[in-house]
Amino acid sequence: MHTATTHASDHGHAHGGAHDHHEPGFWSKYIFSTDHKMIGIQYGITSLVFLFFGFLLMLAMRQQLAYPGKALPIVGQFLAKTLGDDMAKDGVMQADLYNSFGAMHGTIMVFLAIVPLAFGAFGNYVTPLQIGAPDMAFPRLNMASFHLYFLGGVVMLASFFIPGGAAKSGWTSYSPLATLADRDHIINGQTMWLIGMVLLITSSLLGAVNFITTIIQLRAKGLTWMRLPFFVWAQFVTGFLLLLAFPPLEAAGVMQLVDNVLKTSFFLPTGLVTSGGQVPVSGGGSPLLWQHLFWFLAHPEVYVLILPAMGIVSEIIANNTRKPLWGYKSMVYAALGIGFLAFIVWAHHMYLTGMGTKISTFFQTTTMMISIPSVIILTALFISLWGGSIRFNTPMLFALAFLPMFGIGGLTGLPLGFNASDIYLHDSYYVIGHFHYVVAPGTIFGLFAGVYFWYPKATGRYMSEILGKIHFAGSLLCMNLIFAPMFVQGLKGMSRRMYDGGATYFGGGLGADPGILQLNKVITHSAILLGLFQLPFIFNFFWSLWAGKKVESDNPWQATTLDWQTPTPPPHGNFASEPVVYRGPYEYSVPGASKDFIQQGQPG
């Protein structure tokens, strides 16, 4: 660790000729690395593992929804042994286990998989390269940020094995539910969740400070703000969202932790009664306070999830249409607009909490406003395709699929943003369909596109196109088979909270519509199929390290931005000589030029 960091600080080189570029050992190279590229890869691998784990939790839940009360195949006996009868008696998923898998699926996917992958991995690896910087502004802070993230993940995973199991009050952890669950255990799943969250939030804050400082301070000579690639802009706005939205959740987390451990009443109202009688607390707190503080983060978090994916998709679309992005400046201003508006829409998650119609109307208005900048970006990307001679490689296919998928996710959000239609739709499968369209075939496709796109830069080899296309086609089909039926179920009034998949509700002669329950099976089988279609990706990811086609040059995609001007893979310090930027980020097909692209660092 010290060898890796000293050259940043030893400017003076007081000790004469002894140069310090010796090979770092295993620990300082892979575990305590301060190099942004290694940290980016650490983030990438860890978050992909969490992404798969979060997916497996969901598969177990889907199995229960389609076949309620039946033992889980393959993992059922294992769960019964490790987690006990309360959780998985005879391999059958019990309600507590379903709740805890549900809460942890959400938590893991948002905080341990997608944000670290979008911001931690791509942000770390690509941002310094694209702005022509030798590293992040604070390399050791960067390392600390990854370690805190990793520790947070370990705490979250450990919580499955403590008495009472992992947190089971939803990823939103609403009080009083979250405060009273397993209250007889001092260290319960919720306490672990809160400790894990505080670690993850601290990690994100350090990351955000680092990213913003890096983008402000370390841009190469000539790289003015309007010459920044859109990806960097997206990361910049994301950094501000994390920086300013996460602390209120940290405050809320601390207060809920105090509620759980010291038995205070920040979020517990006066006279709270449960089946065990009156809860022995002072009362005087407010459950709504938790929801306000939670959603003050969790709505901007939606844009934390989507902006980096938009950034990746923009790079890939410009590169593969061989055209400049249409409306680059409007996209930049739209991203800034999203960044601002994201902070004043949070309470549209709370229309039905008795907050009051005036406040609901305010948040309905801001919610409609924030769809405008999102539509600007999406429209600009669609128009960018117009008249391009498109190269349909794997990254481009994922990027192209992102556009309509995110479009469906966004447009289905509008009925939820209007508080009249939200009365009917809230808490139904429609909501799940909506936000999964945004995040799963939306963001995750953007991230897959990024993996296929920057893999040649990081490893010097392409990923297999054939396997990539199988992965793409299967994923696109299955994603839609999973999430489109949820809209139907939701419109039919199926609640998202039922752990038997609605069997007690629809099966009991109450407006029985067997078709709705049949859809549960369609969704579950599609989810299993989706899992199988990820296998080519996993295989491809490792196999291509050794057997992938070698890149012909440092710039295999004939791209314009500075990240393709480095040696492959980029060494410590990234650039052979200090890069200077002479032009905008997307000079593709410039009339009269000898090639169809001009790199940012090319003079003249």
């Binding site: 600080s9 913003i212 003050f296």
Partner: protein, 286 residues
Amino acid sequence: MEIPYTVKPRPDTGLYNAKVGIWLFLASEVMLFGAFFSSYILLRVGALDGFWPDVPTAWPHGLLNIPIGTFNTAVLIISSVTVVMAWVALKQGNFKKFQRFMTVTIACALGFLCIKSYEYNEKFTHYVIRLKDGSAVTGHLDIDGHSPRFWTLATVTEKKMASVKVHVDVPNQFRYPVGMKRPEAHHEGGEHAEHAAREIKTSDITFLQAFVPATGTFFAIYFTMTFLHGLHVLGGAIVLAYFTYCSKKMWETDPERLTNRIEVGGLFWHFVDLVWIFLFPVVYLL
């Protein structure tokens, strides 16, 4: 390539990296404490009307020791002055003077924490007791001349005590906001009996608890916010102490870097001070 602008400012922004970093970090800190202050407002607005402790979920006033709080405020403000003096001393090239001023700063920080601990202890030995007749008193327990911490009614019954001796507070020693009527003194002794000792039968007590976070939302937010602020003071003091006593070598090789560190540390220190400037009136005075 080395990372640029670690010491010298970047020409177009006029800032070195750490200075951008600390301002961003402070922005996030503003959001953190802002959330706590917002929670304070919401909890207080939602508190029931009436006088604490007679109404359990009313908002208590005047429980905190204002002279001590004022003194602590002065201690922190002095430390903010000396941290600037220390930075100026470095700018003048006087390392010894820097260390002297910084020592005062760190001493102030530790003094602040000691005083705060004394106040905490004072709260942990202070009790609210509710009686079967619906009245409530506050005061210190007197168990053979000792004043125990953290007792509850369960502690008293476990020890099989028939009664507890309590030095009851005179109720109107608590201040009430302008316009609020003070409650009548509802126990013998009245206003003239300073801390009248009183035996209270255990069988009459329905609730007994020290002034701990669980006692009410005021206590919860008071302890949470001041503890978090205390952690910031402690963290700041540790970092400043490291910069002060382990920096001789850096002063000789790279004085500008050390000066920058002190500037950045000083910015954080001012922020910690500023939080207290808000915290003091909010929890002590209002």
